[in-house]
């Protein structure tokens, strides 16, 4: 019974990873860009939400804001920063020679952004974890002995909804077609009339929203935020993305859940200290033995990397 | 041993549904100077890629010195005595001119010792500089390649291929971007190489150079061979004229017109 509970917990935990994993996989699939700023956007929304609900707007313009508004602004903040990242990593990239390391210029740039954002938050608010006061009600559902907290369940539902919406976007809208065209072949897409200058920022906007929502849901669910919170989630989300297959959205969903599950079961059987080895070991083995993951062949753009 | 240093027999190259080379067979006579010509997209560079091992042909056999080389990995083929240059210059941009040329010598190294002795002021470097001098590039050895003009870089690529002391030299449009006097220069240089026993297989669009340098020509069109014989008679061949100028030109045979098609 306890095991079943742990499994359920693992799936719930995994659902947090899923949204971030989807953000990663979307960016890699469409733009061939491993965006290390993603975990920071997640943190930014959550920390931003906390700061606004605890302190109010910086400079003392208002008092503390109600938590839903605070989180909403947090999500907007994450999206805004994501677009800034696009402006300074992707758009300014100049490929001159096509050598082995040039593909990684945006990746390295995103590492720079990770350092800047995380440390600026530290400078402003310290390194300590903070309590986030979300909804006062804490409904726990009891389904035949298995406990599930309502916010967690809602998160899972939200995630499923987001993924379905994303798939619809990619498949049925004009922008989605543009995104898929860029994923296949950026140069051809340009020639075929896709306005990459307008379509690429959409990816970053989606990234910001996905990470922001994930951060907000995390804050509500677990009630604790810190400048470091992105690091752990980022790790797990990347692992989920790889396991599911780079570029595959459903892969990211499945991968995120698998990682959450792995984490919970590892804690249950071996203790919390072994989680790092387990999750990263899973990632390493996947990369070495089956780098395309579960659904790599069905990714958004084929023939990548 | 046959007297063809390179032989293609029924070579076909398909990429998915696209057939780029279609059942092409020809021989390159040892010690000769053969031109591989044809309109753009005819498959000439693909032939080079198959011969040098970048692609594995879908069908057919490639023979070097009479022996089939299809199973030989691309890395080993330069050691068999074949070197090439590239249509879009592929020099290492951050290395100096002389370093790029020394790269060509790589296949002639023997053992670990060659790999771990410093190159500066070595016999390898002296040899590379000598080669550069012969091509008239003696003022450049230390320059980083990225800063040099197109024409110079084209020549450096040829020197790099020569640094491998090949028996068969594959040149992909060596005269592209060169002015007439540089082209004449190149021609004399290549004649000199040929006189030393190196076989030349040259892809070119400059028909003047082709006519003055090569005695044998193979013409490709849409992946198929349409002519294989003396260069002098290329322009008389109706199929060639049609390939370059379009249908209906076979009847009139203006001299030199085919040479202007690029």
């Amino acid at each position: 019974m306890l095991l079943l509970q742990q499994i359920v917990n693992g799936v719930m935990l995994g659902s947090v990873y899923v949204t971030v994993a989807v953000a990663f996989t979307l960016t890699i699939g469409i733009l061939n860009f491993l965006n290390f700023t993603i975990p920071t956007l997640f943190m930014l929304a959550a920390m931003g939400g906390w700061a606004l609900s605890y302190w109010g707007i910086p400079g003392g313009l208002t008092g503390p804001l109600p938590w839903p508004l605070a989180l909403g602004i947090g999500v907007v903040l994450a999206t805004f920063v994501s677009l800034i990242v696009e402006r300074f990593t992707f758009r300014m990239m100049k490929t001159k020679y096509g050598d082995s390391t040039e593909h990684a210029i945006p990746l390295v740039s995103s590492l720079g952004f990770l350092l800047v954002i995380e440390n600026m938050v530290r400078i402003g608010y310290g390194t300590d974890a903070q309590r986030f006061k979300g909804p006062d009600v804490d409904l726990t559902l009891d389904l035949g002995g298995i406990l599930m907290r309502l916010p967690q369940l809602l998160s899972l539902v939200a995630v499923v909804f987001i993924v379905i919406a994303l798939n619809w976007l990619l498949r049925s809208t004009r922008i989605g077609r543009g995104l898929r065209a860029i994923a296949e072949n950026p140069d051809a897409a340009n020639i075929l009339g896709v306005d990459t200058g307008r379509v690429v920022p959409v990816v970053f906007m989606l990234t910001g929203v996905l990470c922001g929502v994930a951060g907000a849901l995390f804050a509500i669910n677990y009630g604790e935020v810190s400048p470091q919170m992105g690091e752990d989630i980022g790790t797990k989300a990347i692992a989920g993305m790889v396991v599911g297959g780079l570029g595959s959205i459903w892969g990211a969903v499945l991968g995120g859940l698998i990682v959450g599950l792995t984490e919970m079961l590892t804690i249950h059987f071996f203790g919390a200290d072994t989680v790092q080895v387990a999750v990263w070991g899973l990632l390493l083995i996947t990369l070495l033995i089956r780098p395309q993951g579960l659904f790599g062949h069905h990714s958004i753009g084929k023939g990548k990397l | 041993m046959s007297d063809a240093i390179l032989e293609l027999e029924n070579v076909t190259m398909r990429f998915g549904g696209l057939t780029v080379i279609n059942d092409v067979s020809f021989q390159v006579p040892r010690g000769g100077r053969t031109a591989l010509i044809g309109p753009n997209g005819a498959g000439k560079t693909t032939i080079f890629n198959v011969v040098s091992g970048v692609y594995r042909q879908t069908d057919g056999v490639v023979r070097l010195n009479g022996a089939e080389i299809s199973a030989v990995p691309s890395r080993r083929r330069i050691r068999l005595g074949m070197a090439r240059s590239f249509q879009n210059i592929r020099l290492m941009p951050h290395l100096s001119v002389v370093e790029n040329v020394m790269l060509g010598q790589q296949a002639r190294t023997r053992g670990v010792l060659d790999m771990i002795t410093p190159l500066a002021r070595s016999s390898w470097q002296r040899e590379a500089e000598r080669l550069l001098d012969e091509m008239g590039l003696d003022s450049y050895p230390g320059e980083v390649v990225a800063t040099l003009p197109y024409g110079i870089r084209k020549k450096i690529e040829v020197v790099r291929a020569l640094a491998a002391r090949p028996k068969l030299l594959l040149l992909d449009e060596p005269a592209a971007g060169l002015n007439p006097s540089e082209t004449a220069n190149l021609r004399d240089f290549l004649m000199g190489i040929s006189a030393r026993g190196v076989t030349l297989l040259v892809v070119e669009h400059d028909m003047g150079l082709v006519r003055s340098l090569c005695d044998h020509a193979v013409v490709l069109n849409f992946g198929s061979k349409i002519y294989d014989g003396p260069t002098a008679q290329v322009h008389d061949d109706p199929q060639v004229l049609e390939a370059y100028l379009g249908p209906g030109h076979a009847a009139s045979k203006p001299h030199g017109v085919a040479g202007d098609a690029a």
Partner: protein, 308 residues
Amino acid sequence: MSGYWAGILSILAINIVFAYGIYLSVATGQLNLGGAGFQAVGAYAAAYLSEGFGLPVYVTIAASAAAAGIIGAVMAFPILRTRGVYLVLATFAFAEVVAGSILNSETLGGPTGMSVPDFIDWQVPVVAAILVSLFVFYLMSTRFGLAMRAVHDDETVSDLMGISIRATQVIAFSIGAALAGLAGGLYAHSFSFVEIQVFNALLSIYVLLYVLLGGTQTPWGPIVGAAFFTLLPEALRAFLPAIKEILVGLFGVTGDISNPDESWRFVILGALTILMMAIRPEGLVTRTMIERLTLRRGRTRPETEASA
């Protein structure tokens, strides 16, 4: 020399050795985001042999390089089969697995770390840094160094020139791992204590970034990068109070400011990275720059009349 500056010099020397370790991979075209993993291997190897067996320092430090080098060589084969972003992730994952394994190892002290007897003074890391620099300059001047840079610039052509891309990458990666391990051994004996929390993902990120900032085209880059990163806090200490005043005036600061100096250093590192990648991804020191500075033409024979 004062104890303070001796400490800085030690750290600078260790960072230079560490930087060269990553440089060798990057110069061959592989971004190595697992530096901390190899450094941890070296540090713990030295610590364990020193603490557990009482072996002398020159043995433990040699062992730190050897252990990291061997593990690097073994991991190189599977890891270097991956490409591009997969390679970056694989090196990252490797470092995390190393850290996680050490965290769970009783013999290696687990989360509480290990103390290291036999302190080494600043002269040892400095001499090591000098020797390593000379070694890398030498290596890059050989045909093998040429092969490394060729593989970085154009794998297809390198292959056609007869270079074994695999062998070149594996060897460069392994030597790099050994150097990172050496840095770890030097660290262990310079700080008399190792704990796995130090060798984390951020450390791997820092070293990769400052190697890239310094410039990967020549062996001067790692020295410039490491010097910048190590000495930046010192420069900040001089200027930071003034900057902080300005910012407090502009935005109003809330909450504690713990370790602000540390954080500013990383903000600057990050900001410079973004700037560099946008305008000069080759890094600060480039091949062209060195050629211009030394005005060398690299000839072995006197210049004859220039033609062409």
